[in-house]
């Protein structure tokens, strides 16, 4: 009986996740002009990314520019399905500051556009700036880092980027 228990304990101790989930690092460069008015970032993944004009996309809210069906449904860390992932700015100490955002089930596939929008602190949030990167492929492994730059939108956009 003792041996059986020992075997069970050994087997149980070997259980558990051993492979790390997919990673998708994002390096975000924010222009100084945006620092005082930022409240959150909003991450959207759009299908058929190569058909998007990334320069035009950055001038206004993405939700007003593409059909809702083109947004890849994302599941936040709690498992809630959302069209865009919104995360409040909460910088850790350090240089550069980092923030970990979790996604459930990173959508895999090809030809996406990653749009990151800076949301203002206003009572009715407005789009302060936006970045747009074309992603050839998202895989279940370690995806290459995306470098995104957000600059203060000039002229400012009046739209509310939230869905």
């Amino acid at each position: 009986m003792k041996r059986a228990l020992l075997c069970f304990a050994l087997v149980a101790s070997a259980c558990g996740p051993e492979t790390q989930g997919p990673t998708f690092p994002i390096e975000l460069f924010v222009s100084a002009g945006l620092n005082d008015q930022l409240s959150a970032f909003q991450v959207s993944l759009v299908k058929n990314g190569s058909a998007l004009d990334c320069v035009a996309v950055q001038k206004s809210c993405i939700k007003d520019q593409v059909d809702a069906a083109r947004f890849v449904k994302l599941k936040d860390a709690a498992g809630k399905e959302v069209q865009s992932l919104n995360f409040p700015l909460s910088l850790s100490a350090g240089s550069p500051s980092t923030q970990d955002v979790s996604l459930r089930e990173l959508p895999l596939g090809k030809d996406f556009a990653l749009v990151i929008e800076a949301v203002s602190k206003d009572a009715t949030p407005k789009l302060s700036g936006s970045s747009c990167n074309y992603l050839k492929e998202l895989t279940a492994g370690a995806n290459p880092a995306v470098f995104a730059k957000i600059e203060l939108l000039n002229p400012p956009a009046a739209c509310d980027p939230r869905h």
Partner: protein
């Protein structure tokens, strides 16, 4: 007109022949000279694209540099037979073949080679330093090719008629005479959606076999079945449609099956616990539950998006 087989300056012979051969060699060197074309480094095309190393490409380039145009053609012909050439290497081989024929005065053969090259790189131009005569000849060939009809590509698509939801859908196609630089794409959308998404076809182990996979999240199983419209298009580098099955206005379709509803109750003639199906079902259920628990315990479905934020002007 056939010229000398090996043309190098300094070849002993009548003065006129020496002058002619030296001139041709110089022209070849000028026309062929491109930045970064050292033989021990990857070749850089005029477009700035780096061609990965390949023995045949390097040897043929050296032969062209040295004016051994006929040897270069032989090297290219052998090199083209290699099974694992990339499109860039193949394009570079055709470029060298075209140049060699151009300098040998074989306009028709140069045209054939440049036709293949221009399929991959419609904007390819000779270096500006190339002599006007050669440039004029190349311009004429390019103009002729533009006016001619594109080579037909044979495309056979294995139609998909039905798909189970929540599972990737693989569309298979057989493509013969695929033009260099051409790409096959699968366009798809849920019937009624505004725009099509697209995915490139990938070549299989057999050269003419291709497949494209619609990701599972694009075809979720729902309460009601629904249709997905799709079409396949082969286009060359200049985005000319070489072949296709269906188009945006007349797409092919497949149906995504609805979620399976719970099984209807079975009329009982005998007590349920005597039914072998009950015990088989319970057994299968237990096995599925165990598998599910193991998968949940060992799988990690959460993806991490580490976001590094650098604010300008801050350390």
């Amino acid at each position: 007109m056939m010229m000398t087989r090996r043309v190098k300056p300094g070849v002993v012979g009548p003065r006129s022949v020496r002058v002619l051969t030296a001139s041709i060699w110089c022209l070849a060197m000028i026309a062929h000279a491109e930045p970064g074309a050292a033989l021990d480094a990857p070749r850089v095309l005029a477009s700035g694209q780096v061609v990965p190393r390949n023995e045949a490409v390097q040897k043929a380039a050296q032969q062209v540099d040295e004016g051994d145009f006929e040897d270069a053609i032989r090297t290219v012909e052998k090199g083209i037979e290699q099974p694992d050439l990339t499109d860039d290497q193949l394009a570079e081989l055709y470029r060298l073949m075209g140049l060699s024929h151009l300098y040998l005065g074989n306009e028709d053969k140069a045209r054939d080679a440049f036709e293949k090259l221009l399929q991959a790189r419609p904007d390819y131009e000779l270096p500006r330093s190339a002599p006007p005569k050669i440039r004029a000849l190349y311009a004429r060939i390019k103009d002729d090719i533009r006016k001619r009809r594109v080579r037909p590509v044979t495309l056979t698509v294995t139609p998909v008629t039905e798909a189970a939801g929540d599972a990737a859908v693989v569309v298979e196609a057989s493509i013969d005479d695929m033009a260099l630089g051409a790409k096959a794409k699968l366009f798809y959308r849920r019937a009624g959606a505004q725009s099509f998404s697209s995915i490139d076809f990938a070549r299989g182990k057999v050269r003419s076999e291709y497949s494209a996979t619609v990701p599972a999240f694009e075809v979720p199983a729902e309460e009601q079945s629904y249709e997905v419209e799709y079409f396949v298009e082969v286009a060359d580098a200049a985005q000319r449609r070489l072949a296709g099955r269906g188009d945006p206005y007349n797409p092919l379709t497949f149906r995504v099956a609805a979620k399976k509803s719970a099984a209807a109750p079975v009329a009982e003639a005998t007590p349920i616990y005597k039914s072998p199906w009950l015990w088989i079902g319970l057994g299968l259920g237990a096995a599925a539950a165990t598998t599910g628990i193991v998968l949940l315990a060992t799988g990690n479905q959460t993806a991490t998006l580490p976001v590094k934020i650098q604010i300008e002007g801050q350390p």
